[in-house]
């Protein structure tokens, strides 16, 4: 091993420094938000809070956590996310698995049928009219069913299935296992990494999404997912109503409350994603190299 030269060592530290700066840029907005959510009103009014809370208190969190509106939205969104993830994973596996059989007749036609949907979208208004016809407007199912299969994710799963040796499948077939049994007993257990990765993609998509709810649900506010509730509050639609309820009239309190609400909606995902890093890296990479 060659001894690294001094200039190369300096170079190493320069790259470390660049990465530290990049990391700071990534976290500062969240840190600032967290600091604000924990700070006292008097400091917030003076815009005195940067990265560390001043006049530390948990009042904003107490307000948010004890507000039935947020509790409801949180539980509802968690439930929605759970159901969506399970359903989407099932649909994705159902779609991906049969397509790996070269002997399946009509596979080409099915592939074309699927691919067309990736290239051409009927558009916002036709989709809206469809939801109207299916009686899905104002219906909580509109947040679950229309987005329950992503072809992009299906391709990722299919690539993973392709990577499982055919010999496993063939020996099971010789033992008399049906194709369905092979899926359940061999493919699903061997595909935990891709299921973990796609579960994260679907879950994050649902947890963070608000566009569909904004378009399809207007009256039944109890079905608003957390992000839409947040959008309405942060942008002060129904300003008077919201402001009066929340104490948003007092400038300082408004800041800490807003920050606490945002933290409340974000922390769950921030706690989960680092643990799944290994899996989602594999998932993203697989989407790129395909079969």
């Amino acid at each position: 091993m060659k001894i690294r030269s001094a200039s190369s060592k300096i170079g190493d530290w320069i790259f470390v420094l660049i990465c530290v700066i990049i990391s700071i840029i990534c976290v500062v907005p969240m840190v600032n938000l967290a600091a604000k959510s924990l700070s006292g009103t008097e400091y917030l009014i003076r815009h005195d809070v940067f990265l560390w809370p001043k006049g530390f208190n948990l009042e904003a969190y107490q307000t948010v956590l004890s507000d039935p509106k947020y509790q409801r939205a949180f539980v509802w969104t968690a439930l929605l996310t759970f159901v969506c993830t399970i359903l989407s994973l099932t649909m994705t596996a159902l779609c991906a698995y049969p397509l790996i059989f070269p002997g399946l007749k009509g596979r080409r036609a099915i592939n074309i049928f699927i691919t067309i949907t990736m290239f051409f979208n009927a558009g916002t208004i036709p989709n809206y009219l469809l939801m109207n016809d299916l009686k899905l407007l104002e219906n909580p199912l509109v947040l679950i069913i229309p987005s329950c299969l992503s072809i992009y994710n299906m391709i990722i799963m299919r690539s993973f299935f392709y990577g499982i040796p055919d010999s496993l499948r063939e020996s099971a077939e010789i033992d008399g296992a049906s194709f369905f049994q092979i899926l359940i007993k061999i493919y699903v257990p061997l595909s935990k990494p891709v299921f973990a990765s796609l579960a994260l993609f679907y879950a994050v998509g649902r947890w963070n999404g608000y566009g569909d709810a904004l378009m399809y649900i207007k009256v039944n506010k109890q079905y608003f997912p957390l992000q839409l509730l947040l959008y309405n509050i942060l942008n002060n639609t129904n300003a008077v109503e919201v402001a009066a309820q929340e104490g948003f009239m007092q400038p300082g309190l408004k800041d800490s409350l807003k920050s606490a609400t945002v933290m409340f909606a974000t922390v769950p995902i921030l706690l989960i994603y680092p643990w799944l890093q290994r899996y989602f890296i594999a998932g993203v990479t697989m989407g790129a190299v395909k079969e």
Partner: protein
């Protein structure tokens, strides 16, 4: 990648006949496919029948086929709503903004993950590298509602963090959000911030696939860090860069709804209105159904054209397409 693809498609399907034994063996696969295909049929194909509304006069509570064709004072003009759209200054502005913002996203957002991956690749401390990666993926997991809120709390004029710091240091307030050209910069910056870490994953994987012997040989020849980066790493990930660039160009007419909708503000309406927000406002809020269906069809068709072109170019270059 290209070679693998060729091998796969050359796998010859065993020639079985569509007979009793085949059905007995394979029916389960069709049963499994049933649900996904029905889903696609209903939610991706059935909506296409409403596209005809772009050429018709929309009437509430009337079956689709009974609605009259688009007409001007009784004179049938199938393209009435397309003409109307292209005379509508709001739509033309939205169209311009869509292309402009997408292009700027590409120019700023495309190189960022490549540069970041190259920088990460130079780190020698693997623990530190992992921490940096985890942090850089974080913005990808934030919703646009939250990113928009972060942007306002950081960059607002009177009480934003950045402007507070600027004024405390004796500088002058800078309006990041209320002047159209500045807003565009902030919007693009937020996009880069959100996606550069996530986007680097693919390039890191490509870099990991480069033969390490090349680096060793180059070291023996006395190549320094940047020489290796330029002559080994970059050529090694060039195929990935080319494919992703072409595919990104294919989405130039596309455009999500959640990002512009969350980040827009009324002071910069001339810069922040894009096609998706135009369609939402005019279609779903104001029920100009035929006009917005026409706009949506225009966007889909042009988008299709760009995507197919991108795909063809990508294949001509010997790379994979997206199908």
């Amino acid at each position: 990648m290209a070679k693998e693809k060729v091998n796969k498609t050359k796998v010859v399907a065993p020639k079985t006949k569509f007979n009793k034994t085949y059905i007995k063996r394979y029916w389960q696969l069709y049963a499994l496919l049933l649900l996904p295909l029905v889903y696609l049929l209903i939610f991706k194909y059935v909506p296409m029948r409403y596209i005809i509304l772009a050429f018709k006069e929309y009437k509430l509570n009337m079956p689709l086929r009974d609605m009259p064709w688009a007409n001007v004072k009784g004179q049938t003009d199938y393209f009435k709503y397309f003409k109307m759209a292209f005379k509508n200054p709001d739509f033309l502005r939205a169209l311009r903004n869509t292309v402009k913002l997408n292009l700027m996203d590409l120019v700023m957002g495309f190189p960022a993950p490549i540069i970041f991956a190259l920088i990460l690749n130079e780190l020698r401390f693997s623990k530190f590298k992992k921490v940096v990666q985890t942090i850089a993926y974080m913005p990808h997991f934030l919703s646009w509602v939250i990113i928009a809120n972060l942007v306002t709390t950081l960059f607002a004029t009177s009480d934003g963090l950045v402007n507070n710091i600027i004024t405390r240091l004796g500088g002058e307030e800078f309006s990041f959000l209320s002047i159209p050209s500045h807003w565009v910069g902030t919007y693009i910056g937020a996009g880069v911030w959100q996606s550069f870490g996530w986007g680097s994953i693919i390039y890191l994987a490509a870099i990991a696939g480069i033969n390490t012997e090349l680096y060793e040989a180059a070291s023996v020849d006395g190549a320094g860090r940047f020489k290796k980066m330029w002559h080994i790493t970059l050529p090694g990930i060039k195929p990935t860069i080319v494919v992703l660039l072409i595919m990104n160009l294919g989405y130039i007419m596309g455009g999500g709804f959640e990002r512009p909708w969350a980040m827009k503000n009324n002071l910069v309406i001339e810069a922040c209105e894009v096609i998706s927000t135009f369609v939402y406002k005019n279609g779903i809020q104001q029920l100009k159904i035929s006009l917005t269906t026409a706009v949506g069809l225009f966007q889909s068709v042009v988008g299709l054209f760009f995507l197919l072109t991108a795909n063809t170019i990508s294949r001509k270059l010997g790379e994979r397409g997206i199908w």
